[in-house]
């Protein structure tokens, strides 16, 4: 996701400059009303909440996303966004084949965890052949293997006031004046405890490759790709995401994507 994001931002700047200096078409009239925080934008975003509630109502907690057969896997999983993190921490972890990597489980839990890859692999696993849908519009079917997130949450004992699971990642996706921005994202506890929500370490029968998020990425099968962070190093249970990044619950959300990516 990262690569096209940065291109997009450069493009936005260029397009913004272009648009201000050249002919204004009829539709440019709306542009100025659609920025983040604008009244019209906020009003239109109200429909996202409606979509979230309607889909939660219809889909319930445990309705499964469609699963496919081996015959439906016709190509390698398409890598997208950051495919080779340039961060020193990540590169040294990779050099060591993630022996020093730990999955930290922190925040609103009774028993914070620090799990090695072996510990995760030793837990019960789930394997599922599912379709990955990118917000851009493409889809790709692949087989994912990992530890159900609910098992990890149970082991850490989630406190009752926790409402969201926040994923903190190792990859830098952006830079601004205050420094590097690492990819991050959040889901609610319904999706976190969904049977198909796994912390995936395997892809198509092999260890998860770097371009697809090694050592660990999450699969949230009833949502779009940007809701499934790669290169995860910490899972934090929170009661609100207002104090993270731009306060909208994730890196992409801070740039205007819906927090709920079920459509």
């Amino acid at each position: 996701m990262a690569k096209f994001q940065i291109n997009r931002r450069k493009f936005l700047t260029a397009a913004g400059l272009g648009a201000s200096g050249f002919t204004l078409s009829g539709c440019d009239a709306f542009d100025s009303q659609l920025g983040m925080g604008d009244g019209l934008r906020n009003f239109l975003e109200g429909a996202n909440g409606l979509t979230y509630r309607a889909q939660r109502l219809l889909a319930g907690r445990d309705t499964l996303a469609p699963e496919f057969s081996e015959a439906d896997i016709r190509q390698p999983m398409r890598p997208n966004g950051i495919t080779a993190p340039d961060d020193d921490t990540y590169k040294s972890l990779l050099t060591n084949n993630f022996v020093d990597w730990r999955l930290e489980v922190t925040g609103l839990v009774e028993k914070p965890l620090s799990l090695t890859r072996e510990q995760l692999l030793a837990m019960p696993s789930r394997t599922q052949i599912t379709r990955h849908d990118c917000v851009e519009g493409w889809s790709c079917i692949a087989k994912w293997t990992g530890t159900p997130l609910s098992l990890v949450l149970d082991q850490a004992v989630v406190k009752p006031q926790a409402r969201y699971v926040m994923f903190h990642c190792l990859d830098t996706i952006d830079r601004n004046l205050s420094g590097d921005i690492k990819y991050y994202g959040s889901i609610d506890l319904i999706d976190a405890r969904h049977p198909q929500t796994i912390l995936a370490y395997g892809l198509n029968g092999k260890p998860l490759p770097v371009e697809n998020g090694a050592p660990l990425r999450v699969r949230v099968e009833r949502q779009l790709g940007y809701k499934m962070p790669k290169y995860i190093q910490r899972v934090e249970l929170v009661d609100s995401f207002a104090n993270f990044g731009g306060g909208r619950g994730g890196y992409w959300e801070d740039y205007g994507y819906d927090w709920y990516g079920g459509i």
């Binding site: 913004g16 272009g18 539709c27 239109l44 398409r78 519009g137 459509i263």
Partner: protein, 309 residues
Amino acid sequence: MRKPLASRITRQKGRGMDAIASIDQSKEAQAGQSKKGPLIYRQNHWTRLTHWAWAFALFFLLLSGLQIFNARPQLYIGKESGFGYNNTILQIGAEDTATGPRGFTEIFGHRFDTTGVLGWSGPPGNESARAFPSWATIPSYYDLGTARVVHFFFAWILSATLLVWLLVGLFSGHIRRDLAPRLADIRNLPRDVADHIRLRFHHSGRYNTLQKLAYGGVLFVLLPLMVLTGLAMSPSMNAVLPFLNELFGGRQTARTIHFAVMVLLVLFFLVHMLMILAAGPINELRSIITGWYRTDPPNGGTNSTGRSE
């Protein structure tokens, strides 16, 4: 054969478009003197309200939809997008050539140069690679997130309006009475086609055969298909309605159908505008804004109203 039919229908009351009975008598009398046909109350407030709600919603859905398409300007057939194999049936892109960047559109393997509109467009000297041009998208600059906000807001408006229209139309009899084609409509089809080709229009309280087919096709086929293929693209709705994607032949085929139906709706809109211009834009606009419609004089001219029953 025409005339008896015409005279039989001209003064029928209470069976026409919603409230044909409420012909304004004084206006009719006045009109009669100046050789104008009677004004009838042709479109009731539900029809007008839902019409404009759709028009408004479809405008925003189209332009935000083209922006969303720009994020992945390829259409595929099947469950997924082929990267290791080819299942692309349409692609809009830009390529470098000896004479500079050119925009192209490739449909079923046939490539067309569409520089300036599709693939490569923008103000002179400041062109950029984008599938649909800036003037055809909301926002005009590339912003997938915002386009999705706009698209899903108006998707709710469109769906809610369709539901309201369907309920009102079923209970009021509007659908059965005014839209459902009858045997006579089918029999009348060749003549109706011929009349449309000659741009010879008849202004009555009723829709002619082609109107019934066009409006019915949009409301019962195209718009529901749009909603269903839209839902088929939602990963969460796939969990609720897994058969939808099987019905359409996979998520990517559903996306392709979504696009194709958009093209059909745009074509409908163009023909709709042409027909309004040809049939008398003032009168047609008045009827969809105020409900009142000037019909042809009862006995003046050729074959005034005897076409729809």
